[in-house]
Structure formats: structure tokens, C-alpha cells
Amino acid sequence: MTSLLGRTAQTAKFLAADPVLTAKTGQTPHEIVFRMGKTALRYFPPSPEAEAKRPVLISMPLINTWTIFDLLPGRSVVSKLTAAGIPVYLVDWGRPGDEDEQRPLSYYIDDVLGRMFDRARRHATKHHDTDELDAIGYCVGGTFLSVHLARNPAQAKRVAFVATPIDFHSSERLARWANPDTFPLDTLIDSVGNYPADLMRTSFSWLKPSGQTAKWVGLWERIDQDGFPELWAALEQWNGDNVDFPGEAYREYVRRCYFDNALMTGGWVLGTTPVNLSKAETPALVIGASRDHIAPPTACGGLEKVWGAPCEVKTIRGGHVGICVGSTLAATLIEWFEQPEA
């Protein structure tokens, strides 16, 4: 048992080495097989020892970097999937710049995701002898994926949505904040162009202010726990590394999803085509996180009410980010994709 002072000294020594800056994330070997603008399609080959399975395409959120799915060795969703024999294609949206502020949401949902599916399919045909894909969407990446799959049902055989908000009016505090009467969406986008990453980070910190102290206390309490300080530093690095959300896409996303809750109520025309999740034909698994304050299980579970294909809902223990570094998420995904198809 480390003494109170010893623990404090150990924490100070750990922090003095600037672990957040030096944390190395995204270490699983992979290659970029396609680029479109800032977006990259990262390919993680499956383990040769495991039985070959259908490849999966992962749509990550546009507001953070992709490395949360490959944070550290042993804490990586992609490495667990590849170890189970699943080839992984991961959509990394990159860092949109000021030149992307006019890009509409349909560019990301229809054009980029469409091309990513196409190139992943071509690569899989060449290297894995199959043109069929499964799909996973995390957070906003899942919201984009749900719209894309409802409009293009042939893209994936099965899909898993992880901490993906669909019923945005059930997003608790975030829904209360992002309401048309108080949130100056148009002024903000007309003034600053892209929704700034630092504002995004601040907003998420303010959603749960006690979390800011809890993380330091957590580090102090578990400083002697094997692997915890490294995980803490990697998570801190990821948390502080938001990216700008392209302005026009953000305007439409907030207006349709948060203001109108259009995925539940309908009436949203994206590009030239209406968004209608009831037209989906892909069997879906919804995974909510029990302590998620960004996409609470109620907001994720909304999909079950509107999705046109069979939909299974599961809740696993953890927070919005915590589930990505635990072992349950990868195990749940692998189990779902290994199930025989109906």
C-alpha cells in the first residue's frame, strides 16, 4: 500500500515527465489504402492465425481523432477485431480546414462514406476474396452511417452502432443546451466558419464539470495500478485533441438532429433525398454506454423505434469514451458479427 505522501510524490513524478504529450496512440500496424480530401481509409489486416471473417468498415466521429479505437496496445478495439480474423477498414475524417467550411453534410454522408465503402469493397475483393462488408459506427460517425445505410442498404450486411445518438431530444443536458432558442447556431457559423475544436472541447468539459476534478483524483488513486497511468495519459491526449467541425455540415447537423430531432420525426431532406431510417434493410446492433452523458442509452436506443430492419439493443457498463478502452465492447462486436445471419 503506497502511503499518502508517496502516492502524491509518485503522481507528481509521473506528471513531471509530460506523459500526455509523449503518449503514443494508434500503434496497431496498418496502411492507408485511399484518401479523399482530408479523409483517409485505414486498413488493418487480420491476424493470419485466425479464421478469415467478413471485413468491417468503421465510421469514426468527425469531432475527434480516430485513435480512440486504437488507443494503446491491449486497449485497442481494432486490434481485437483483427485478432479475431476481421479485416478492418477505418474511416479517419482527418482535420477539416477552413477550406472545408462550405462542405455540406451530404458531402460527408453521401460522397465520402460512399467512396470509402466502394474503395474498401474493391480492396476486400482483391485481398480477401469477398465484396461483402459489415459496418460499425461510433458516436457521430454512427449517426452519419445510419443515414448512409438507410439510403444505400446494399453497402453493409450488418451494422453495429456504438454510443450513437439517434433520438437527440433524449440527449439530456446536451439537448437542453443545443436548442434553437438559446444556441446561436447561425451567428456562430456565420462568424467563425468551422465549429472550433477548442469550443467543442470546452463544451464537453462543461457538460460534466465534476469530471475535471475526478480525472485527477482517479490518477492519484490508481497511480500504482499497472498500466493505468499510461492509459490516463493517452486518454488525456485524445480528449484534448478535438478537430474543427466543418461549418455548413455542422449547421445542418445541429439544426436537423438537435433542433428538429429529424431522425425520429422525419422531414429531413439531405442533398436531394429525404432521410428515412425506416427504409434501412441492414440488421443492426445498438450498443449504449450506461454512464454516457454525451449519447445516453435512451438517445441511442431511439434507433430501435425508427430503423427499418431488425434491431437489437444492448447496454454495456462505462462512459462514452470508457467503453472504447474496455474489453467488453470488442467482445460484444465480435460476438455479434460471428452470429449466423438470419
Partner: protein, 171 residues
């Protein structure tokens, strides 16, 4: 020491619970949310004003402003979109060519197989014809003398006729 740690942890938990309750009340208060929105609106206008002024200053010094750089980057990304559209077309054409190639290969295989079949059938017919010829020859073998005398008599008739014709011409 462990007691001290437990005590401090307990104190922290109690503080966290009361603070969370307080924060919850503040952060969900409509007045606070409105104030936050107003503040955000004001800050974004201020930021735009600042950026506009920086742009103006750069322009007055005949230096490229942020707007100029963004314009160039946007043109580059639009060009990239066009390149990608061409790449899509090429890939589609590649798919079509691949399909045509596969189909033509299949057609060549079918043609080669058909040729082999025809050759086999011809060989069979050839063999049958040979067999028939042999059979006919075999059948014809014992009746040779008779057929010879018949042919001779057949041959003699025209010869005789020719001789007769020659005789009549001479006369």
C-alpha cells in the same frame, strides 16, 4: 496512513456529490443556458471582427490574407474532387473492361471446347467411315471375280459401240 487516505477519499466524494448537485442546478438553469448562448454569440462576433481586421491589415500591406489562402485551398480541394470523379470513372471503366475480359475469356474457352467437341465428332465420323470402307471392302472381296466379269461386259458394250461408230464413219 491508509485511514488518512480513506478519509481524504471520503471527503472528496462528499465534496464531489455536493458540487455535482450544485453544478447540475446551475448548468440546467434556463437563465444560465440563455446567458451562455448570448456569450457565445458575442464571442463569435468578436472573433469575426478580429479576423476581418487582420485580413484588412494584410490586404493593406499587399500580403495574402487568410481569405486568400482559404480561397486557394478551396480551389485545390475542388480540383481534387474532379480528379476523384475521373478516378471513379476510370475505376468503373476498369470494372467494365474486367467484365468484358472475363466474358471474352469465357467465350474463348467455350469456343475452344466446341472446337474440341467438333474435332472429336469428326474423328468419330472419320473412324466410322474408315470402318465402313473396310466393311464394304471386306464385303466386296469374295465377289471379286463376278464383279470383274460384270465390269468387263459393261466396259465391252461401249467399246463395241465405239468400234461400230468408227466403222460406220469409215464406210
Amino acid at each position: 496512513m491508509s485511514d488518512l487516505k480513506d478519509m481524504s477519499t471520503e471527503m472528496y466524494r462528499a465534496w464531489e456529490t455536493s458540487m455535482t448537485k450544485w453544478w447540475d442546478a446551475v448548468l440546467d438553469d434556463p437563465q444560465f443556458i440563455k446567458g451562455m448562448g448570448d456569450n457565445l454569440s458575442m464571442q463569435s462576433r468578436a472573433r469575426k471582427g478580429y479576423e476581418d481586421r487582420v485580413d484588412q491589415a494584410m490586404e493593406s500591406m499587399h500580403l495574402p490574407s487568410r481569405k486568400d489562402v482559404v480561397r486557394l485551398a478551396r480551389i485545390a480541394s475542388l480540383l481534387e474532387d474532379k480528379v476523384l470523379a475521373v478516378e471513379d470513372t476510370l475505376l468503373d471503366q476498369g470494372d467494365t473492361l474486367g467484365r468484358v475480359e472475363r466474358e471474352s475469356l469465357q467465350a474463348r474457352v467455350d469456343a475452344a471446347e466446341a472446337l474440341v467437341t467438333v474435332q472429336e465428332r469428326l474423328a468419330t465420323i472419320d473412324a466410322k467411315l474408315d470402318a465402313l470402307t473396310e466393311a464394304v471392302a471386306a464385303m466386296a472381296e469374295p465377289k471379286k471375280p463376278a464383279s470383274r466379269s460384270r465390269s468387263r461386259s459393261r466396259k465391252s458394250t461401249p467399246a463395241k459401240k465405239a468400234d461400230a461408230a468408227a466403222d460406220s464413219k469409215e464406210s
